[in-house]
Subunit: 304 residues, 2 copies
């Protein structure tokens, strides 16, 4: 009978949902012990207890990003699966929400209301606007689907994959400048890897039109922060919405807090709702007890 250890802030909620599911042959431990072979939890917490789990066979992360477990100093003798297929709808809500807020000038209208001004400035529409997705994995595909729903022109920049049929045109390799040319929205949805580090740099920002809005829902390391601040302060792009940062929480003295036309959302774009994550865990647990390959396995070398 496999023993599971749950290690998240809201472990009691996870435990209750899993117990209700009545999974066959599953024992849930209250401590990380030698008998635990499965761990479900937050990568940042799990990295600290790996040494207490000699019989660890499988870690199901409650997050999409698993950087804390990719440190080369840590063991890699277990199967690591991340949470996939559960953040797409949340990310697409976030992205579409900020796109619409931009088109609809919702901050400007609120300010007009404060000033008691009847602000008839014409509103924009997403229809026909161009959105460029840096990274089109399962989350990017969901964002692409929402963008198509609103009649947008969807571009995707990927290493090589072209799996989402919602993308109108794919770009790869050195095509970044033509990918960015004419974009209304540039959205980074990239994992943190060697290839994606600082991909949003001065060059890419210069290739984007002055009217473009940049959104980062992937990882902070994808952005050259100095280049982004320069682009915003000097109106080389129209604005940025950042959910992720190199250092989180963002230090109080960081210039982002007051950078012109920059909005930040404190890594809240796609919360891990326990009911969503447990669905992924159960799907994989059934494969696990049948000895079949698990879904959403992370390649420790590749990083996602």
């Amino acid at each position: 009978m496999p023993t599971l250890f749950i290690l998240t802030r809201d472990h009691q909620e996870y435990r209750a949902i899993i117990e209700t599911a009545g999974l066959p042959d599953l024992k849930i431990a209250s401590e990380p012990t030698a008998e635990c072979e499965i761990v479900l939890g937050a990568p940042s917490l799990i990295s600290a207890v790996l040494d207490k789990l000699p019989n660890l066979k499988w870690v199901q992360a409650t997050w999409a990003g698993v950087e804390p477990l990719l440190d080369p100093a840590l063991r890699r003798d277990y199967i690591l699966t991340n949470a996939r297929g559960v953040f797409g709808y949340l990310m697409s809500e976030y992205v579409m929400g900020y796109l619409l807020a931009h088109e609809r000038k919702i901050f400007q209208r609120a300010q007009a209301q404060k000033n008691k001004e009847w602000d008839k400035t014409i509103t924009g529409t997403l229809r026909g606007k161009a959105i460029g997705l840096l990274g089109v994995g399962s989350i990017g595909a969901e964002v692409a689907r929402a963008a198509k729903f609103f009649g947008m022109d969807v571009r995707g920049y990927t290493r090589e994959s072209e799996t989402s049929t919602q993308v109108d045109r794919y770009y790869h390799g050195n095509d970044l400048a033509s990918f960015a040319n004419g974009l209304d929205y540039l959205v980074a949805i990239l994992p943190n890897t060697r290839e994606t580090r600082r991909i949003v740099n001065a060059e890419l920002l210069a290739a984007s039109p002055p009217g473009a809005l940049f959104i980062n829902v992937g990882r902070g390391a994808a952005v050259d922060e100095t280049a982004l601040i320069d682009a915003l302060e000097n109106s080389k792009i129209a604005g940025a919405v950042l959910d992720v940062f190199e250092e989180e929480p963002l230090p109080k003295e960081h210039p982002f807090w007051t950078t012109k036309n920059l909005l930040m959302t404190f890594h809240t774009s796609a919360p891990s709702f326990p009911e969503d994550i447990v669905r992924v865990f159960i799907e994989n647990y059934r494969l696990y007890i049948e000895g079949k390959p698990l879904k959403y396995q992370v390649d420790f070398e590749r990083g996602y």
Copy 2:
């Protein structure tokens, strides 16, 4: 050869688009004269020139709402068509934009940023939330489609029609309280008629949950303003987003400007883009010259 008179603020743009379309046998007049049999324009402007058009046969309004032409003192000896099928995507962008702004707490996050607070408050999602549409015409159907895209539970309140298949459940007649019970979002998309006047009253607002957000993109007359102010100031509902008002522009002394949890957008939710409206006009013009019944005819008595 039919003669058209164009009467809108942006008549030159309309004229250029229509001329480019090269419609058969159409002459465009620069003044409202006896020879004009077709008028394309804004109802508020057309009502003032009706007397100068003895041979008027057809008015194509550039708006959805045609109240200025419904005054019983005005002539009704012509066919009045409104702009339909062109505002749906704009209205659904507006509604989804404000729904997402609410779930994603975008004003709260912006305030947190000003305060340099790393605000990790959990974000909400539209998935599974209940939206109630007061009125499901062509615009309501588009809003329903967008709400279904985001996984919402969609209710529709109509006089009798149940044409949109995107609505999960319809309500009619005296069902308003059960329609409102449990709603997360209440959206009024109603024309101004005797039946819809003050339909959003103290009773309906009391039947809505304290967490509900009310959005009005139809007509201001659908709302009992005193009841809405009471509901907002006393937190009987969570908030309101109003695009339309009984009196527009809203007078400076109106309490709405500073009512708690009320956002206003100054009748900007669905602008009449000339290229959209001309598409409707051309569609109807082709029917007109063939002597066929026009689309989107307004019933002067019913009011829409």
